[in-house]
C-alpha cells in the first residue's frame, strides 16, 4: 500500500471505472472512495487494495446519520471502522446532516436547525464516532432547500463551534456552498469570506467540487417545468452532483486556494456518471483552469 497523502485535484472512485483504473493506471493523483460500497463482504475490498497499491485515498461515507434523531447505528459504525482500518485512508468523512428517522431511510442529506441545543446533541455523537475511528471525523457541508426559523446562528459559525468542541474537521463542498447561497439569494463569495474568517485552514482537509442543475419555476401557475440549462429566469438550483463543474464553482475553488492554500480536492460525480476518460479529461481541464 502506498502511504502518500492525497494532494492536488483527484476524482471520486466509482466501481464501474475500476477496470479502467486498474488496467491503465491513469495520472489521477488520488481517489476518494465511497466507504458504504465496502461495508458488505462482497470482495470489493480486494479491488480497493489494488487501487491502494498505486494511489493515495480518502474514505467518504453517507450513512452515519450523525444528526439523526436515533442513536448512532453501532453496527454501521463498527463496519465503517473495520473498513477504515483495512483501507488505511488519509481520513474518513461523512456529512453534517441527518438521513434517517426511525425505520425510514432517505438515502438523502437532510438539514437541521443550527442551534446551541444541536451543538450539545451532536458533540457526544461525534465523540462516539471519533473514539471508534481513533481519529478526527471529517464532516461535509450539505446543500439544503429550506432553513429553519429556529436557526440561532449561521452555518459556518455552527460548524466552527462544532469543530472547536469536538476536534472534528471539515470537508468543504463548494458546489453545496454555491447552490445554497444562490438559492437563498446570498453572494457565494461573501459566504466563502465568512467561512474563511471563522474556520482556519488546518481544519479543512478536503474540498469537493461538482455541478448543480437549474429548475425554472413558473410562478403564475405554480408548475415546475423541469430542468434545463437556462438559468436566467426565476427558478432554483438542485444539487445533483451529476453535471460538470461550472465556472462559478471553479472561481470559488480558486478563491479558496487563494485564502487557504492548496487543499486536496476531488471532482465528485454521483449521478449521470460518464466514462472514466471523460471524467479524467474534466479533471485535467480543471487543473489547467485553477492554474491559469
Amino acid at each position: 500500500m502506498t502511504d502518500l497523502h492525497p494532494a492536488g485535484i483527484g476524482l471520486g472512485f466509482r466501481f464501474q471505472h475500476a477496470n479502467t483504473i486498474l488496467q491503465e493506471k491513469p495520472a489521477t493523483p488520488w481517489f476518494e472512495l465511497i466507504a458504504d460500497d465496502l461495508l458488505l463482504s462482497s470482495g470489493r475490498q480486494l479491488v480497493i487494495d489494488k487501487v491502494r497499491e498505486h494511489y493515495p485515498v480518502a474514505l467518504h461515507a453517507v450513512g452515519l446519520n450523525i444528526a439523526g434523531p436515533d442513536p448512532i447505528d453501532t453496527d454501521y459504525l463498527a463496519a465503517l471502522t473495520s473498513v477504515y482500518q483495512q483501507t488505511e485512508p488519509a481520513w474518513l468523512s461523512d456529512h453534517l446532516c441527518w438521513s434517517a428517522s426511525g425505520q425510514r431511510q432517505h438515502f438523502d442529506l437532510l438539514p437541521f436547525a443550527f442551534t446551541e441545543a444541536m451543538l450539545d446533541y451532536l458533540s457526544p455523537r461525534i465523540d462516539q464516532v471519533q473514539q471508534s475511528l481513533k481519529r478526527p471525523l471529517v464532516l461535509e457541508n450539505i446543500s439544503y432547500y429550506q432553513r429553519f426559523k429556529q436557526d440561532e446562528m449561521g452555518e459556518w459559525d455552527f460548524t466552527a463551534q462544532l469543530m472547536t468542541r469536538t476536534g472534528c474537521q471539515m470537508l468543504l463542498d463548494l458546489n453545496n456552498l454555491w447552490t445554497n447561497a444562490t438559492n437563498f439569494d446570498l453572494d457565494p463569495e461573501a459566504e466563502l469570506t465568512t467561512l474563511s474568517r471563522l474556520i482556519k485552514s488546518d481544519d479543512i482537509v478536503q474540498i469537493h467540487v461538482a455541478g448543480s442543475k437549474f429548475h425554472p419555476y413558473d410562478d403564475d401557475n405554480g408548475i415546475d417545468r423541469g430542468s434545463d440549462h437556462n438559468n436566467t429566469g426565476k427558478g432554483y438550483w438542485v444539487d445533483t452532483h451529476g453535471e460538470q463543474v461550472p465556472p462559478e464553482v471553479c472561481k470559488l475553488l480558486k478563491a479558496t486556494y487563494a485564502a487557504y492554500g492548496d487543499i486536496p480536492t476531488i471532482i465528485e460525480r454521483d449521478n449521470n456518471i460518464p466514462s472514466f476518460d471523460e471524467l479524467e479529461s474534466e479533471r485535467q481541464q480543471l487543473v489547467e483552469t485553477v492554474n491559469e
Binding site: 442513536p71 447505528d73 434517517a100 431511510q105 432517505h106 432547500y145 429553519f148 437563498f184 432554483y236
Partner: protein, 203 residues
Amino acid sequence: MNSKLISPLALEQQQMSEQIYAGAKSGSLEGWCCSARIPESVALGIYQRNLHGGVAQHLQAHFPVMVAYIGVQAYQFISAQYLNASPPDQPIFTIYAAHFPAFLLEYGEENPQQLIWSVAAQLAQIDFFHLNTFCENQRAVVEARAYQLWISAKSFMEQSESLNNQGLYRQLDLHPERYHEQESELITLVTFWDNEELFFRVE
C-alpha cells in the same frame, strides 16, 4: 436518560421524514424558512423527488439489464411499488437493492398474468451477481434460459447506442412468453479474474 441523547429536533425530523415519504401529498411544515426562489411546497417537492428519484436511480445502477428489458415506464412503476411496499430501513443501499429481485418474484407471483415480472426477477438476480461480486469462485445458481436472455439483452445494449425506452421485451425473440414455455435447467455461474477484470463463466 441524558437529555443530550435525545435530538432537540426529533419531532421536526419525524414530521419532515413523514412528509417526504408521503410523496405526492405535499404540504408545508411549520418552522421552515424558505426563500423567494424556493417556496415551501417546492422545497418539500425537491426532497420528495430526491427520495423517489434517488431510489429509482440507484436501483437502476444495480439492475441495468433488467431495466433495459422491461423499459423505463415499467421500471418507474415497479421501483415505486417497491419503495411503497418495502421502505428502506438500513443505511446501506446495496442491502436494499439485494432484496429487489425477491420483490419482483413475489410481485410476479401475485400478478401471474403479467409474465414480465418473473422474467425481470431472474434478470435482476443475474444483474446483481454481475455487479456486486468482486472475488473469484463466487457462485450463483440461475435458470439457463434466463442466463441466455440476460446475455442477449446485454449484447443488444452494448451494440445499440441509444436504447428504446419502451423495453427490449417487445422484441419477438426476447418476449417473456418465450421464457415461460417450459422448465429450464439450472446452471451455476462462477466468477474468475482475468487481466484485472472479473468475469463469470458457466460451470
